[in-house]
């Protein structure tokens, strides 16, 4: 017979999950308040603050920047990361073993150190424009996700299928696109979406690289918070939580959320 957890342990777990979700519920409540300051529970209900988000040009602008940056930074990273993951899985013998670790270096180096170093050497040292520096920074930031998640689905792929296509006369590049890629589609989509949300939420790398006129949404939020403390910030936060929900739905469809516990 299976017994449930000890009542004290179960109660503790309930408290932990209340602690995890409570603050997010408070943000949702605060975003609906018709007061001009942040408060919870909301006094009267209004959606005005959501409208206000789109009336503030800095939020509109940085939202576009952030989504563009997350999309193209991730695509760039996948463009380099998929071949690398493929090479690591397919040519295990030909490549040195440490190579896999080199690709996950961006996880080991603190993000804030990466941001500072990129600013010093790339943005200022080499005079690379703001948007291009951000793109390099974000591509690096998400490269470990791209290589690892795509690699995980490649490890489950039987390369003899690809060999069969090649030995029947299919060119290698074509075998990759028609045989390998469809089989790792779920991994590629999951890698994209995980990388996308990481890039969208990034502060530590972006804070050094945003320049005059170009900023990202999280950096703009930080700046806004220092001057105003009104429910607009809560509304932006709720909109970002909406993105999180969408991201989770995609992960659940592709790899399943339990993938994140591995």
């Amino acid at each position: 017979m299976r017994r449930g957890p000890h009542p004290a342990l179960a109660a503790l777990t309930v408290l932990v999950f209340l602690f995890l979700l409570g603050p997010l519920v408070i943000i949702i409540g605060a975003s609906l308040s018709d007061t001009s300051f942040l408060t919870f529970p909301p006094r009267g209900l209004t959606l005005d603050w959501y409208q206000n988000v789109f009336e503030i040009s800095a939020f509109r602008r940085t939202m576009v920047t952030s989504f563009t940056l997350a999309t193209f930074g991730t695509l760039f990273s996948l463009l380099l990361g998929i071949p690398a993951a493929y090479a690591l899985a397919r040519y295990r013998v030909q490549l040195p073993r440490f190579l896999a670790n080199v690709y996950v270096l961006p996880v080991l180096i603190p993000e804030i150190v990466l941001g500072f170093s990129l600013m010093k050497s790339v943005a200022i040292g080499a005079g690379v424009p703001v948007m291009a520096s951000l793109l390099i920074g974000h591509a690096l930031l998400v490269l470990p996700y791209c290589v690892r998640v795509v690699g995980a689905s490649l490890n489950g792929f039987d390369f003899s299928v690809e060999e069969a296509a090649v030995s029947l006369g299919c060119p290698r590049w074509r075998a990759f696109f028609t045989v390998v890629l469809p089989n790792i589609k779920a991994g590629v989509i999951a890698a994209f979406i995980l990388a996308f949300i990481t890039s969208l939420n990034d502060v530590s790398v972006s804070i050094f690289l945003t320049g005059p006129g170009v900023s990202t949404l999280p950096i703009q939020l930080l700046a806004h918070m220092e001057q105003f403390f009104d429910p607009t910030i809560a509304s932006v936060s709720v909109l970002l939580m909406g993105v999180t929900v969408a991201v989770m739905a995609v992960i659940e469809r592709t790899l399943g959320l339990t993938f994140l516990t591995k």
Binding site: L108, I112, V113, F116, L257
Partner: protein, 275 residues
């Protein structure tokens, strides 16, 4: 084209991105710490003789260690219950842990500004109850930074440990029980040793994450509770002291790498399955 050339050709673009985008700039930052000061080690001498810098470094250690410890205790308890839950409940609980994890650090830190601020929920409630006469100032204290930091990292700890605890076969605890071990003894002698590598991985993630965090100490700690991340930013972007900022960066990298290496050593030694 030989397989070897093809393999390198495929691996090269991403390798170049890491080497040129991360390797060179970070090495340049390290180089600055040796060439930027009066002598080769002057920047480090300045760092470690300055009382203020030592206080910042120690505070960062303290916050990261306390955050790790609290996350470990609560994360382990919650992960244990999650891992033993029936499938349906388990997937809901995992969703509830993933949601905050994938929500941005700015949003999650902001929530604590709303809760702990002068006009925040805690103060409003206590004032309404008449427990206090004046609002308490809880922001910009070490406590508020730690609370927000624990909030940031508990989901990561839970998700890391759920995977580990699930991989421990139920049969083992059953076997221990059938051999006469009380539940407490079976937990201490069977489950805990097998969970140690996972506990170490979770702790390393939380410790290095909180040691190098920026947004949370910036929002909840401010100037009063300067930590390594906020200090680095302040040196680099407010006072434009690049040598000083590079030295902070180098110390952060050394601490992070040393933690990772030491802990993975320890994990290998303590792993009952390997060796």
């Amino acid at each position: 084209m030989t397989a070897r050339t093809l393999a390198w050709a495929l691996a090269m673009p991403a390798l170049l991105l890491v080497l040129l985008g991360l390797g060179l700039p970070v090495l340049a930052t390290f180089a600055t710490t040796f060439t930027g000061g009066e002598g080769p080690l002057a920047a480090y001498a300045e760092f470690f003789t300055s009382r203020f810098r030592r206080v910042v470094l120690w505070r960062t250690f303290e916050v990261a260690a306390v955050t790790t410890l609290i996350s470990l205790v609560f994360g382990f308890a919650a992960a244990w219950v999650v891992a033993k839950s029936p499938a349906r409940l388990k997937s809901w609980l995992i969703i509830a842990a993933v949601f905050p994890l994938l929500t941005g650090v700015v949003v999650r830190s902001f929530a604590w500004l709303v809760i702990l601020g002068r006009g925040g929920i805690v103060n409003e409630t206590l004032l309404a109850l008449g427990a206090i006469a004046e609002p308490l100032s809880m922001l910009y204290t070490q406590g508020s930074v730690i609370v927000a930091m624990v909030y940031l990292f508990v989901p990561l700890m839970i998700l890391t440990l759920v995977g580990v605890l699930e991989s421990i076969p139920e049969d083992l605890t059953d076997a221990a029980a059938s051999l006469g071990a009380r539940p407490g003894a079976a937990f201490r002698q069977v489950v805990l040793p097998m969970a140690v590598p996972g506990l170490i991985v979770g702790s390393v993630l939380v410790f290095t994450g909180s040691f190098t965090s920026y947004a949370t100490p910036q929002l909840l700690g401010g100037e009063q509770q300067m930590m390594m991340g906020t200090f680095l930013y302040q040196r680099a972007m407010v006072t434009f002291d690049w040598t000083g900022a590079s030295t902070i960066a180098a110390v952060m990298v050394v601490v992070t790498l040393a933690t990772v290496l030491a802990m993975s050593r320890l994990a290998q030694r303590l792993n009952p399955v390997a060796s």
